[in-house]
Subunit: 382 residues, 2 copies
């Protein structure tokens, strides 16, 4: 079967590497002929809203999916008229809009930060009054990795925040103001739902950011406890059932100092915080996404080694951002698994990642320090 994937970034590339062993062939649509997935599957070069490119893309495709959520609505609509597309269009629409997303969470009893819709400069001042400071102004759509956001610490920051997010024009804009949340840590839960409605969830992950970009992830999130895992799974499961979802869905949560939990955002796709699952889980998020959209049985989401007789291990994933070390430096660290995306270096760009697995966190510490040291020397993060 040919699986069509909108977008040919690193998520698509890793999907191809997971799909080939299943006997699937992946075809990507991406405007960039040098995109990361080009080396791992068939690439149709074209814009997502280009009819001729979409026509070539769907020819012979058994099912279509996407590896980024900012798919133009018109392209997604056209696709659904020509081929089965998972996750479903409504999930895309909700995940593309911070306000719809928060309303969806709240309607399902999942807490979020307080928020206000904002579309004018005057409306922003009123919303800041209402929510209080500090708060964060965000574009409703098309933000990623901390882009399209500005923090408002005092009411005098309003104009500067508007200019930073919208630009100097003062006409209407689709924005959202969020109360700033004091959180202890960020957690993500990655679930997968099959065409038959069955669901599975990976152990929740603790994520650490640097400059708005994911720096490293730890799975399972240390000291999480079974009750919190269940709570996260129930929330993710409710969203997936509500959206009649098929595929991998990721939800990021803030864990508050007092123990509260607030949903931040969802990604209707495989997610950076799940990259450890390639080696660290019985079946990776990439393979499980493909299994789900193809109507195949889901694979185990448990930590590698836990399927039968073992207690299961732990994993850490470090992003390689901006500048990459020589691969030999990473490969010299015992057990370090390197994943390069075939991208040129550029400040703030995710170029690859490194995964470590062990039976216990104690077994990871020395090697984690070695990975950090190599990445720091290269001048990339973390």
């Amino acid at each position: 079967m040919i699986v069509g994937v909108l977008g040919g970034g690193q998520l698509g590339r890793m999907m191809a590497l997971a799909g080939l062993p299943l006997g699937l062939r992946l075809r990507f649509l991406d405007p960039d002929p040098g995109c990361p997935a080009a080396e791992a599957g068939e690439l149709i070069v074209g814009r997502y809203d280009e009819p001729a490119a979409l026509q070539r893309f769907v020819r012979g495709v058994g099912v279509a999916t996407y590896e980024f959520e900012n798919v133009p609505a018109a392209a997604a609509r056209w696709l659904t008229e020509h081929v089965a597309v998972f996750p479903p269009q409504n999930a895309l629409a909700v995940a593309q809009d911070r306000v719809l997303e928060k309303r969806c969470f709240r309607s399902l009893g999942i807490g979020t930060a307080e928020f206000e819709e904002v579309d004018t400069l005057g409306g922003l001042a009123a919303a800041v009054d209402k929510l209080g400071t500090p708060c964060v102004l965000k574009t409703r759509r098309f933000g990623y990795d901390g882009k399209g956001q500005a923090v408002i610490r005092t009411p005098s920051d309003v104009r500067g925040a508007w200019d930073a997010v919208v630009g100097t024009r003062t006409g209407d804009a689709d924005l959202e103001l969020e109360a700033m949340v004091e959180f202890d840590r960020e957690l993500s839960i990655i679930g997968v739902r099959g065409r038959d409605g069955r669901m599975a969830f990976y152990p929740a992950i603790e994520n650490s950011h640097s400059g708005g970009i994911l720096s490293f992830s730890v799975a399972p999130a240390p000291g999480l406890g079974e009750a919190r895992q269940q709570e996260l799974e129930r929330a993710c499961g409710r969203v997936m059932e509500h959206l009649d979802y098929v595929g991998v869905l990721t939800i990021e949560f803030f864990e508050l100092a007092g123990g509260g939990l607030l949903a931040n955002e969802m990604a209707p796709r495989v997610h950076n915080s799940g990259h450890w699952s390639i080696e660290g889980a019985e079946c990776s998020q990439f393979e499980n996404h493909l299994r789900a959209v193809c109507g195949l049985p889901l694979g185990s989401t448990r930590m590698a080694g836990s399927e039968t007789d073992g207690p299961g291990g732990v994993s850490m994933m470090f992003n390689i951002v901006g500048r990459a070390p020589a691969s030999r430096e990473i490969l010299a660290i015992p057990g370090a698994r390197l994943h390069m995306y075939g991208k040129a270096e550029r400040a703030g760009r995710k170029l690859g990642h490194v995964t470590l697995c062990a039976d216990t966190f104690a077994g990871l510490q020395r090697r984690a320090a070695a990975v950090r040291s190599v990445l720091e020397r290269a001048g990339g993060r973390p």
Copy 2:
């Protein structure tokens, strides 16, 4: 770096899947435009001895290697004049010829079956007289998966064996007669040697065949013992050092009822009996072969989970031969890892494999039975 690979079969395909995460790009040369590696890398379609194809193949290549040992000598020679090629040409020459291979083993103190060179029908009769029956007539070159072999149980089988292996012509032929070895089991040892001479060895593997084709492998070979592992590693290490080898080398051994060990043959490449290493070892044979030929640090050859604090697990690999089950049947077995090669079904053809990993053999038994049952129902082996 671009790595050039002569041959685009499933071994090349799995090499590509291991190489992309390292940031390597693989280019294959194969006469078949539909070969398994075509879906996972760049393919130059051409014969191995076609100058124009070889020219295109080496352009921009940093290092060349091969995924099958029957590379025409002229092609190998031409390549070494244009690019670094590993494993070295002399290893190819030795591995291509059963007589040179056995002489190599014996010169290094590694036992083999008794054997005789044979090149005429008369010579065959004399050799049968000398070695006694039962014995096996084999082509010196280009045999694989039991092809090019005939068993001689009594002297009256001589003519039939000749016809079976050589055909009805009675002119000179390059043959080898081997005393038939009564063995308990077949073991293989897979070693890897870097450009800097460092070596590493995977746990020895027990292999079971059906109709001359590998049916399943178990790693580590049950009940092997540390002394036998060391003995196999020393033998493999001696061969690699003697040949100034770079890359993965596999040697098959017969383990005799009395405890003796006889080398059967070597493969100067990644090997079917090492496919379990994709999930079952810290670093797979495919990745380690690429690390070696690219001059990168070798990865750990230990069982997955044993690098730091764990005791390490066990693996079983089942070949899918001739006919493939529906992938959903395999994927429904908890923890079963499917690897399809993108090949059309044909009797005796290796179409894919399934790997199971667990902490102990006890933890594998039920799932191994499930895999066997699915493969048997499909009408393939085992």
